[in-house]
Symmetry: C2
Subunit: 394 residues, 2 copies
């Protein structure tokens, strides 16, 4: 008799976005034709930039012509793209071998797949509030999870502390949902802590392109990371690839545990369990790293940053405490008057038709907070900010 | 201290295609400028068909325009594509709900990912010769593997036998590498056997489009499969998507073990561990299932089938015993004069400059056999067949 993975029975239903959709639908059913200002889900609204579109078309054209057709791609990524990405890191004085860069179908897929490299016995440390999939993917694997709550006292940037013990550490900086970003000194503390005990850090850098201040974009800017960290990157938010799918992962060759080299293990995993990432997407994604591509994606990022500025201005005027927005595409606000996050969600939906995300969905310590995404339509964001200010001023 | 997945240390290096590449390179270094007739790797040579190219361009265009831009796709696949694929099954009198169809990035990725649904304690039964990744993916998961050898006596179509015990059964029909394909009666035996003991069959249907005779294309054509089988399909060979990547998987809602529903588990897996398959690829892949797309891909399949015919004719004339070719894009021949498969490989490479795949690479019982892929260039295949006939006639 086949035994299914019984750890799935330990998963709690993830109600967050389901609940949001349900409440939104119910409101629209009662108020047909109402325009909603959607700032809940962290999905981009701007189309792909022209340089990427042109490269994607070129990739498609090549797949239609025998002499330029691409069959199976190398499982770890096209060598030229791996080299391009390694070169991109040099801008931050991070020097990687192309063999340390793996092309992926996106950070979400990669964060799930990478867990195959680790034994079930490892304890996973998850700083909360956090992206819910970190928790669920480790429950599926039967791992013990250590929740490290954060809050206003540590500016949502928790640090290692006495008594804390774990083997696998999730760091997301800039953070989803709080927008908080670690500085060099703070990341150094985590790296030293990980190296001291032989832990491995999974560094989710999905939002690095939104950093404005002098903060590390890559964990590999910090000495010592090469012996304790894997960095997971994505073009989803950087270049609008949420529905197009492409990302990359850095696994240093110096990363070893118990005599096994994690870079070599990942090569073995990819060559066994994948047949590589679509040629068309890799060809299109390469255009992100050209001068023209960089110029165009940063123009889009500036539009999202203007959304953030507009929202932050409204919250400032209303005297509301918030985090993020500056170095991240998320704004994490304290709900007014001690309101609960779902209570505040209902208030925004029914009174000003703005949809956000209740902080409680990102872990228990997110209760009483609320996330706005700045990836929405600029006109909608301006109107939402106005309505928010009027409501909160009351 | 982090413990890596120590099962990786139990993997044997997969030398097959590495060795082929190495030997081929060495030969070319000694004989510069020589044209090789490459019939080793099962990669397609014909470009994507016009209907798919047009749909891919349209998908790319949509990603460049705000009103038609697609962000995050539903994790289990675009509803329209799931419905299209379910409808496609109706041609074989298989009636699926769209929710039983999952869009994937290809069969290879899916075969790896799906194993997350099963406990490590399950015994995996692998009929050999087999695609080497079946074995390796289960070694990575720490599962016991039961090798079921096959050979000329059972026409490379092994059946359940007394004493055989397993929980997870790999069936690949038409088979890679032997080209052998199960008939209804044989598949029924496996289905009854699996249902009797609560085992689950992973049915790899990657080559179903090459079936000519009256044989099942889908395991779900056989009653009882819906309570014991998962079917993994691919557009790689069907529509030339090896480098473009798209596939689909059927997990029936009736498939349950130990009170857990495997369809629901897979929904939970996908929504946790992926953000869906690229919109562009799904939009392009949908064109495969249109009348025009079907006409065009079958014209390509006929070209590969003509390759198979030419090769079979040469082997027939030379009096060589072989399997496959009729219902599969692979031809599996017995090496002449009791030669070993690597010995025969060397002979073909050095004497007639033809590159094939030694059967030993697909498991011990493949020793003494040799695989030809029929996905090569038609002119090359004709010349290779000629050379093969001259060599084997000697």
């Amino acid at each position: 008799m086949l035994t299914p993975n019984l750890s799935y029975a330990n998963l709690k239903e993830s109600y967050l976005f389901y609940h949001i959709a349900q409440k939104t639908r119910a409101y629209l059913a009662e108020h047909p034709g109402t325009h909603l200002y959607r700032m809940g889900i962290g999905d981009v609204s701007l189309p792909l930039v022209p340089a990427v579109i042109a490269a994607l078309h070129e990739g498609v054209d090549n797949q239609g012509v025998k002499d330029r057709f691409h069959g199976y791609m190398p499982e770890c990524g096209a060598p030229s793209l791996r080299e391009t990405i390694a070169k991109h890191y040099e801008k931050r004085d991070v020097f990687l071998s192309p063999e340390e860069v793996f092309v992926s179908s996106g950070a979400s897929d990669e964060l799930g797949d990478l867990l195959d490299l680790f034994d079930r016995s490892n304890k996973a440390l998850i700083m909360e509030p956090a992206y819910p999939a970190y928790v669920d993917a480790n429950i599926m694997a039967g791992r013990e999870i250590i929740h490290l709550p954060s809050g206003p006292d540590d500016h949502f940037l928790p640090l290692p502390k006495p008594g804390l013990d774990a083997d696998l550490i999730y760091l997301c900086s800039p953070n989803n949902p709080t927008g908080a970003a670690y500085n060099r000194e703070q990341l150094t503390q985590w790296i030293n802590w990980a190296n001291d005990r032989g832990a491995v850090i999974l560094f989710d850098a999905a939002y690095e392109a939104f950093i404005e201040e002098d903060l590390p974009h890559s964990i590999f800017e910090i000495p010592g990371a090469e012996t304790c960290a894997i960095e997971i990157c994505s073009l989803s938010k950087t270049a609008g690839f949420t529905g197009t799918r492409l990302g990359y992962t850095v696994i240093p060759k110096a990363l070893e545990r118990c005599g096994l080299n994690l870079n070599a293990m990942w090569v073995r995993n990819r060559t066994t369990k994948t047949n590589g990432v679509s040629y068309i997407l890799q060809h299109g994604g390469a255009a992100v790293f050209t001068d023209e591509g960089q110029k165009q994606i940063h123009a889009n990022i500036r539009i999202y940053k203007e959304n953030a500025r507009v929202l932050m201005e409204a919250l400032d005027k209303a005297g509301i405490r918030y985090w993020g927005g500056k170095n991240a595409p998320y704004i994490w606000m304290q709900c007014p008057d001690g309101m609960g996050s779902w209570e505040f969600f209902d208030k925004l939906l029914t009174e000003i038709q703005v949809v956000g995300t209740p902080g409680e969905g990102f872990g228990a310590c997110g209760e009483g907070f609320f996330r706005f995404s700045t990836f929405g339509d600029p006109a909608d964001t301006r109107e939402a900010a106005n309505r928010l200010l009027q409501l909160l001023k009351k």
